[in-house]
């Protein structure tokens, strides 16, 4: 047809809260669509925690003396949940670097919406994906002696969600400063593995030499793994000696931090990371 087409004059976003919320929603949705489409990613990112739990965990349990019939892998389980969330969150943040490299970030940055909506949408998307991965790991709880109690599951999910959000915000904050995938991977190796090992995820950090103990207390992931472990241990009956060894909690001096304080610390860290990330992305070039 040769006639000129009527062009709909559309109302364009900008300024209003509903526009910002819609932008947030669509960025979040994109993360989930991409996650759902990439089956390989789901499988490969579960391979590592499964390996840690059932190969390393089983191996270690042959040399670690535990009294009674306590399974060492029960100790490791909350740590492996933390690990799943950690790796998935950081991986989600890498996608910002990919987006920059492949230009999609520009499509988002020129849109007539506030930048904070894009950053928050990204963090929520990454956190949702990481929590879903964590939930899949959670399904294996029964294999290592963790009971499927609804309250426990809900508490673990909520704690993983908060942790995932903080970690994604941390990754996004890094990604804002780094422009290529290679250097992002170097930086995350520098942060991610030390954070993982020092968090008490794979071994109790109470009897460490002082310098390692200090590093462990600096590690923000310690304050995310400990609530997970406390939740798991509160649902299994154990002799006090085992509990003291494998669920020592995190102490500052003689003060053992309550779970609420630990979660508050994680929440504050999340808010700081998010603010830094938003600032970084809102800067004009």
């Amino acid at each position: 047809m040769a006639a000129a087409v009527e062009v709909p004059q559309v109302r364009i976003a900008g300024g209003r809260l509903s526009d910002d919320l819609r932008a947030l929603w669509v960025v979040w949705k994109r993360e989930l669509i991409r996650f759902g489409r990439n089956r390989m990613r789901i499988v490969t990112s579960l391979a590592q925690p499964v390996l840690f739990l059932f190969v390393l965990g089983t191996g270690l349990s042959t040399i670690i003396h535990t009294s009674g019939n306590f399974d060492f892998r029960t100790f490791m389980f909350p740590g492996v949940l933390g690990m799943t969330v950690l790796f998935t969150s950081i991986f989600s943040a890498i996608s910002i670097v990919w987006d920059r490299e492949f230009g999609f970030l520009r499509e988002m940055l020129v849109a007539p919406v506030h930048r904070w909506t894009l950053v928050l949408g990204k963090c929520l998307g990454g956190a949702s994906v990481a929590t879903i991965q964590g939930a899949i790991m959670l399904a294996l709880a029964g294999l290592v002696g963790v009971p499927y109690r609804p309250v426990l599951m809900l508490v673990l999910l909520a704690e993983m969600g908060l942790t995932a959000f903080a970690l994604t915000a941390f990754g996004v904050m890094l990604a804002a400063r780094i422009s290529d995938v290679q250097s992002f991977q170097v930086v995350t190796q520098l942060f991610v593995l030390p954070m993982f090992f020092l968090s008490g995820a794979v071994f109790p950090v109470t009897r460490l030499p002082v310098w390692l103990g200090v590093l462990s207390k600096i590690d923000p992931l310690s304050y995310a793994v400990d609530p997970l472990r406390k939740a798991v241990f509160s649902f299994i009956a154990l002799p006090p000696s085992v509990r003291a060894t494998f669920d020592p909690g995190v102490s500052w001096g003689s003060w053992e931090l309550p779970v609420a304080v630990e979660l508050l610390l994680v929440g504050v860290a999340a808010a700081l990371m998010l603010t830094a990330a938003i600032r970084q992305f809102s800067r004009p070039a």
Binding site: V26, G103, V110
Partner: protein, 342 residues
């Protein structure tokens, strides 16, 4: 259709005769002066081409007009809004097609468009119709459910053009819309762009370093080393050159060259196997040539000056020379520092 038009918000009618206006626009990155003071205006509804070699400052200029980069000095207005103080308003009025692909390859064509529609707040009742309209325009309607990673380079570019139009922008910016594409795809893309101008009443601002493509533009500005060296219609620019190029094949080329020098006071030389020279009014010159040249002429070709000739007369070099020496000044732009496509 009337209910569609009724959606125009009152007070949004700020449409001006001038779609884009830049006044002494400058951008300096550390030591590099990427854009050194450019002024121009683009009228509503025209195709305006920004022409120049890689690194001339075209992309930086476009980035400033699109509010991706703040100018170091100078002012620019797009669709009546200032690119610094009214960024959000500018972004509402423009569509963008970047040099690099900015599609999400893990999503389908349709999902990419939906994402865009939601970011730009296109009312959901209008999205399906509009989506069909733009996808049909670029012949991708049948492929709307395919993942973008299965698309060829030309298809991706077409999809980006469709996406840039989805929210009915007043001004569509196309940064090197045909770079890296094969000639056939390039001519298709130009077909779409011309179609678009006819159907959508949109102002099109584009950059290119292909001289032949500038012929499609209503007006062009030639940029080199961060400044504009010429601005007019392609015809006027070529007309201002004054001289046509004449190419001869004769039985005795050396003698033809010497006779041209003696009898016609024309400096001719061999170029790509033909006796080549420039004269004003080439078509009137040819009959004289046949009557008075003492060498048998086998063929004659008279060519109007091309934009290559225009570029050369303004910059003293061909665009290919300029490309070869052109610095990567635009790489200093942080939003463009991703891998370039050459």
């Amino acid at each position: 259709m009337t209910q569609l038009q009724a959606r125009v918000r009152p007070g949004e009618e700020a449409a001006t005769e001038v779609a884009v206006e830049a006044t002494d626009l400058r951008k300096t990155y550390k030591q590099i002066e990427a854009v050194r003071g450019v002024s121009f205006s683009v009228r509503t509804g025209e195709i305006f081409g920004f022409l120049g070699p890689n690194g001339a400052g075209k992309s930086t200029t476009i980035s400033m007009l699109c509010t991706l980069v703040n100018p170091s000095a100078g002012r620019a207005r797009v669709a009546g809004f200032d690119v610094v103080s009214e960024q959000a308003r500018v972004r509402q009025q423009i569509g963008l097609v970047f040099q690099e692909t900015t599609l999400d390859e893990y999503l389908t064509a349709e999902e990419n468009l939906r994402f865009h529609a939601e970011l730009y707040g296109v009312p959901s009742s209008l999205v399906p119709g509009r989506m069909q309209q733009v996808l049909e325009m670029v012949d991708l309607w049948e492929r709307r459910r395919s993942l973008v990673q299965t698309f060829s380079g030309g298809m991706k570019r077409r999809l980006e053009i469709a996406r840039g139009l989805l929210h009915s922008p007043r001004v569509l910016f196309l940064d090197e819309p045909t770079v890296g594409l094969d000639p056939q795809t390039r001519s298709h893309i130009w077909g779409y762009i011309s179609e678009l101008k006819r159907r959508e009443q949109v102002t099109i601002f584009l950059t290119t370093h292909y001289m032949d493509e500038a012929e499609y533009c209503d007006r062009i500005a030639i940029m080199d080393n961060g400044i504009l060296v010429a601005e007019d219609t392609p015809e006027a620019l070529k007309g201002a050159m004054g001289e046509d190029r004449v190419e001869l094949h004769t039985d005795d080329d050396p003698r033809a060259i010497s006779e041209l020098g003696q009898r016609f006071q024309v400096a001719a030389s061999m170029h790509e196997g033909a006796v080549t020279f420039h004269v004003p009014g080439g078509e009137e010159f040819v009959p004289r040539l046949f009557a008075e040249l003492g060498v048998r002429i086998r063929s004659v070709r008279v060519a109007r000056p091309t934009l290559d000739d225009v570029f050369m007369s303004h910059t003293g070099r061909t665009i290919r020379d300029a490309e070869a020496s052109g610095g990567d000044r635009l790489r200093a732009n942080p939003w463009i520092r991703s891998r370039g496509r050459r």
